[in-house]
């Protein structure tokens, strides 16, 4: 029996749509967030670099699995199921 890897919808923020040809929503597959990000980077080269730094999620990029910030559910190890959705939002932050 073939094990199917879930393909999920990913919401892309305005600033990263240059990588997706302007698409607001794209698909990628993987059983963990790390695999999804790797697949996203295969389909849209350059995306990986914008999301990861030294193999970890960038500090000022928020990634949500359904309604949860992935930092609270294992970050790149978060498990993905079919029907999940991912939202990427750059943090709104700054300092004086």
């Amino acid at each position: 029996m073939a094990v199917s890897t879930p393909e999920i919808d990913i919401r892309i923020p305005t600033i990263l749509r240059t990588y997706t040809g302007g698409e607001k929503s794209v698909q990628a597959s993987g059983s963990t967030l790390a695999e999804v990000v790797a697949d996203l980077d295969r389909r849209f080269p350059g995306m990986g670099e914008r999301l990861l730094e030294e193999g970890k999620l960038r500090r000022f990029i928020n990634v949500y699995l359904n309604d949860e910030d992935v930092r609270f559910i294992g970050s790149l190890d978060a498990l993905i199921s079919s029907g999940d959705n991912l939202t990427i939002l750059p943090a709104v932050a700054g300092g004086s």
Partner: protein, 136 residues
């Protein structure tokens, strides 16, 4: 140019003064395609710091979903500087990720002695450009 009502200018200042000495942050949203700010949403500064602000991540997700549902966009993203002038810092410019928004800064530093300092900028590709503000 940013065109904004006196009511929102006052609301931003009230928020900034209430949170002083921590930085206050929030947005004013408006119908997509109009560029007109119509709804003020104060955001929680998750950093709770006099030198840094960051929207609370879950509150921010709700905000973006709400905007999608209502066909609204971020017209103004504001925050306060509590001991420096109302000009984007290097960090503000580095993290700015909404090229369509007006980045508003206000200052509540002591030397102003209660006077308003309200300035607006576009921040695109790492460059901040000040723009005129018209208060209606």
């Amino acid at each position: 140019m940013l065109s904004i009502s006196q009511e929102f200018v006052d609301a931003i200042y009230a928020h900034a003064r209430a949170d002083h000495p921590d930085e206050a942050c929030g947005v004013i949203v408006g119908p997509a395609g109009t560029g007109i700010p119509t709804r003020h949403i104060p955001m929680r500064n998750a950093a709770m710091s006099p030198t840094f602000y960051e929207f609370d991540s879950i509150e921010m997700l709700k905000l973006y979903r709400d905007l999608d549902d209502r066909d609204e966009v971020l017209v103004v993203i504001y925050h306060s500087h509590t001991s420096t002038q109302a000009h984007p810092s290097r960090t503000d410019i580095a993290y700015a990720s909404e090229p369509e928004a007006h980045y508003v800064l206000v200052s509540t530093r002591e030397e102003l002695a209660g006077a308003n300092e309200f300035r607006s900028f576009r921040i695109v590709d790492g460059v901040a450009t000040e723009e005129p503000v018209q208060i209606r």
